[in-house]
Symmetry: C2
Subunit: 374 residues, 2 copies
């Protein structure tokens, strides 16, 4: 019943595990490529498999507006719609309502807003968010929450967090238990330890299939983010997966796994792939830069992806400058391959009890910066 | 030596053959996907193989401006640069100079123009066009010619065609014979039979590895285009491939093959794929249309491509409306698969001496129009 979580190994606070859903298994630490509008931009499902993706994230806010949850349900759900047979986690829509929608108003009942597409008026309540995610067919659904901006005074964070916890309870009450499907709660509380602790206590007493950490990577910086994780992760049950939402850079993933986080999602590898930015084991590279125009070497000689196997930096530079779709395809594939290989590397290191060395070695390489020009 | 052409079968005037180049063999009738800037837009080379592409076309004008012919030569040529191991035909740059460049001036020596990218001044002569195509490593190079606009008075077409024939002779003189590499002449003369005949005679007396028909599909209409082909194709040597440049719709390909044409290139399947237009055996379909929003059926049930195997019209409609890169990827792949399957179908029909039936059957299906909405 629900989604299953098997803890395979621990190394310090870092964990390796396995999550079982209605659409199959994924290993943790896991990175979920972001498939905002029922597509991971510039990647076909076969491409996603090829780079090692096991679970995708999709955005409820975007999908409820277009093509619409009822339509998606009639068409057999999100998996069939986008031709992805593996697990899918959907967010609740709350984050995008607050970052994208117009004239939003947060009330005790839920949030009212106007679509950024056509200005139509919408209501999203905790119960409706759960129902929509069921229509989509999400393997893992998230509770509706409010992600407060940063910086913001503590009193307003406290008020917002308390309401998010009431929404969490309503979400749980509305969630229909089905084999292989789960609901995750979301910890809030900004950078305030006491609020984070109260939120964690509220969530664990409600009881969820996993625990998200929300409201981070909104400008507080890596140090404060890690401080929050140091404080709050130990408050979650050990036998459930923990998910740091919307994070992050490779260094963030290493530090968060070290603190006991199991799951991540972030637009960074995909969005960067569309703007000529690539991740390598020697740090990030801007392919638009003229230094690459005559460089016959691949992006990352240590990389086994199809982009590095077939194309030079010179070609990638040309594609980025010519604004060719293939540049988004090749760089997105490379970046996701890099991220997913990092996750696999962390998982293996944890199982072999050498995570600290792995992390230090990876960070040392990253800090070297890009290879010298030819 | 040069490129080889083996005529395998004839059925009426339609021909099936095989062209051997330095980078392998392609069957005719052949359609060449257009890889303007060293990439067929939205398609990786593996995708091109998957849809059945055997030879690509690349545009000398675009490549000489960016990334530059000298750079491409230093990097090992176009094949290595774009990771395509099969044959490549390059145009001479003349057509794009006249359609894209700024402040162009055609003189006896060649054409002077300013780059549409940065306004830089360039000169393109017949000799330089041949040299650039050698730098690119083209298996088949085209002579520099001038493609007159339509409509235009006969005197100006005559003058332009005569100069293009002088350029053709200079191109041939400048072309260095190498194993597996060939140079094609280009027939001009607008819609005027006598000018077309004079041009064909000039070209055949120079002697080329193949014969292009240029200056068509510029607004004269299918009837006049076919009339020109009826008149001029019989004037070409039988033992060389004939290439109708920049054409066309599926109906154009059927009619041109019936008149003895062996090779084609056109941006239609790729450009249409980026604007939500798809080709099916029942005619063309605009995926942006709301009639597809709830349609669970594939684009074309008779199609064996990955797009039709994995995705509904509803999903394609969603991707087009959301302006997702995946819509360009899936529709371009489908459209090229459709075109290349049509070419293969024509080739098989010619070899089995049933081309007339094949053509009539294909045209009858096309004329039915799209399937009724669900």
């Amino acid at each position: 019943m629900s989604v299953g979580f098997e803890l395979i190994a621990r190394d310090g606070d870092a964990r390796a595990g396995r999550v079982t859903t209605a659409h199959g298994v994924f290993e943790t630490p896991a990175f979920m490529p972001v498939g905002t509008a029922a597509t991971v931009k510039a990647m076909a499902p076969a491409d996603l498999r090829r780079v090692g993706a096991e679970i995708l994230l999709a955005n409820t806010y975007h999908l409820m507006l277009r093509p619409g949850a009822e339509r998606l349900e009639r068409l057999g759900g999100l998996h069939r719609f986008m031709n992805w047979e593996g697990p899918i986690l959907t967010d609740s829509g709350g984050f995008q309502v607050l970052s994208l929608a117009k004239r939003r108003e947060v009330r005790e009942d839920g949030v009212a807003f106007r679509s950024h597409l056509d200005g139509a008026l919408w209501d999203l309540t905790p119960e409706r968010a759960v129902a929509i995610q069921k229509s989509l067919g999400a393997d893992i659904a998230m509770v509706l929450d409010e992600c407060p901006p940063f910086p913001i005074e503590k009193g307003r964070v406290a008020e917002s967090t308390a309401r998010s916890m009431r929404w969490a309870a309503r979400s749980k009450a509305a969630f229909e238990v089905r084999e292989g499907h789960g609901l995750f709660g979301i910890n809030q509380g900004g950078v305030y330890e006491d609020l984070r602790a109260e939120s964690a206590e509220a969530l664990t007493s409600i009881g969820f299939d996993g625990y998200g950490v929300g409201g981070l990577a909104v400008g507080e910086g890596q140090e404060q983010m890690f401080a929050v994780l140091d404080h709050v992760v130990p408050l979650f049950p050990r036998d459930k997966p923990r998910y740091l939402m919307g994070v992050g850079k490779p260094e963030d993933l290493l530090g968060a796994v070290a603190r006991g986080i199991d799951m991540f999602d972030c637009v960074l590898p995909t969005r960067s792939g569309r703007t000529g930015q690539a991740f390598t084991h020697r740090g990030s590279v801007n392919l638009r830069n003229a230094r690459h125009a005559d460089d016959p070497r691949p992006l990352d000689e240590a990389c086994g992806c199809a982009t590095c196997g077939g194309y030079s930096r010179a070609y990638l530079n040309h594609l980025v400058r010519a604004d060719e779709i293939l540049s988004a395809m090749l760089l997105t594939a490379h970046n996701l391959h890099f991220y997913l290989r990092l996750m696999r590397g962390m998982g293996e290191a944890i199982q072999e009890r050498r995570f600290t060395d792995f992390k230090a070695g990876f960070e040392a390489e990253l800090a070297k910066g890009d290879i010298a020009p030819v």
